[in-house]
Symmetry: C2
């Protein structure tokens, strides 16, 4: 997947460079860059590209734009989730979070700018393929906004007793669904058969994230851990215990792999799903389970 | 303009109702509604509609969606600008600001959700007119994001010595430019000739806003005042003095009216520009000047 990864980095670089005009306020431009580079695993855009390829997608600019939009929205959500009023996380990806590096106002604004940039990137790429734009925006908006996107997922934490499944589907699952469905739509294919893959993977990643929070220290995780217990957030690690949560995550990854619809390169996609899932799991648990 | 106003309220109501599914986190849904209703003067969407009409725009859904998108983005910017890390304003439009009513987390998320909803509203409306979607998104993104949209305008306040004109053009002018240009584009007309109208009006509104901050009390303004001096923000009221700033605002309104390109109903549009500007100016200054 080195090719996919470097393709994503180049496309992200082009999107960010495109808004770094001399007339931009320099600290906001720097905060936006800080929020995006260096990245994490870029799991969501990799999935988007892989699905587009599996659908035989040849329109490179539109596929790249979909992957970029998904990742920019993910980075926006991290910049906002790390704010003092939410997770109050001083670190992210092993270095200062956006608000720790640039202050709270610029972290709010960097998130806002990234959301706008995601949609603008799609619009620019679809100039020659206008029919693909509206479906892509609808798919991606559903993954991010109300009623059930990641913003709604984060908002469930402000409710007295969030329903665990709806919360986790929205908080993590929704953007995975958007990643795979937008890959298909960008390639000109029907996105609907791809929804189950995104749903299962999203649930698997949420369990993995709960386990990382419960099991890893800050150095391993690259961000503060132990937050779910401290903030009394619903967590599968707390609910099931570490061992059963790990087994549940593995089941979800298998279910995800099994949910890949018939396509050009289903073997490769299955391998990607398994590889990414292995990377995510806390190592100490993987060793115990092995 | 009663017709325009009620048309805008209905279109906004439809957009907000569209995301209030049973599965949405109830407090975020309520915070989003609180951010949008009851509104202020709805100046930007009224302008958008008026320009679309002046361009002979007949595609009602697309024109309505452009007006709605502009207003949702304006409401998002107010929800975020009122946050404790920016203006720390407990009131807005004469009642509690979003963070005062719902807390900081939901105010951040309501702004995020509104930004997403703005683009999604455009995408849904353009299903039958796909060629209009990309230009509309580009125009509107430019008004909001980096390098020179309202988010950049707000970010200039985090810089040690913001250039006054670039700051004010971005902070207020950019969304006025987007409002008039998107009205033209939604109507299928060339948006470029409309840019000067938006620029002049945006500058006039920024001066009016500076004057309200300097001259009015909280009851008159519906929001905390005296913030520019307290937060050491650039202000034309401080820079020019109240009387000269008021005269400058009036010049800008005249320049805006003069910048209306030849169109179907330029007289009506000119009247709208003057009427809205009169409404905005602090009454005590208008009396002194009369």
């Amino acid at each position: 997947m080195t090719t996919g990864r470097s393709r994503i980095e180049s496309a992200l670089e082009a999107a960010i460079a495109g808004v770094e005009a001399d007339s931009a306020p320099p600290m906001l431009a720097a905060a936006v860059r800080h929020a995006v580079f260096p990245g994490g695993a870029r799991v969501r855009p990799l999935l988007c590209l892989a699905v587009a390829e599996a659908c035989g997608g040849r329109n490179v600019p539109v596929v790249d734009a979909a992957a970029v939009a998904i990742e920019l929205l993910h980075c926006a959500s991290l910049a906002h989730d790390d704010l003092p009023c939410f997770d109050d996380a001083a670190t992210r990806r092993g270095r200062p979070s956006v608000h720790a590096a640039f202050g709270e106002p610029l972290a709010v604004l960097a998130g806002d700018a990234l959301i706008v940039m995601a949609f603008d990137t799609l619009a620019r790429a679809c100039a020659e393929a206008p029919d693909r734009l509206a479906p892509l925006i609808t798919i991606i908006s559903r993954g991010v906004g109300l009623p059930n996107g990641i913003v709604a997922g984060q908002a469930w934490e402000s409710e007295p007793s969030p329903p665990l499944e709806a919360y986790q589907r929205a908080k993590t699952g929704a953007l995975f669904v958007a990643a795979v469905m937008s890959g298909a739509a960008a390639a000109g294919a029907d996105p609907l058969p791809w929804r189950p893959l995104g749903e299962k993977l999203g649930l698997a990643y949420q369990v993995a994230d709960d386990l990382i929070d419960a099991v890893c220290d800050e150095a391993q995780a690259g961000k503060p851990t132990g937050r779910d217990v401290a903030l009394k957030r619903p967590s599968q690690a707390t609910r099931l215990g570490h061992k059963r949560a790990f087994a549940h995550m593995e089941e979800l990854v298998s279910a995800a792999a099994a949910a890949i619809p018939p396509c050009n390169s289903s073997e490769r996609l299955r391998a990607l799903v398994r590889m990414q899932a292995t990377r995510l799991a806390p190592r100490q648990l993987a060793r115990n389970a092995a």
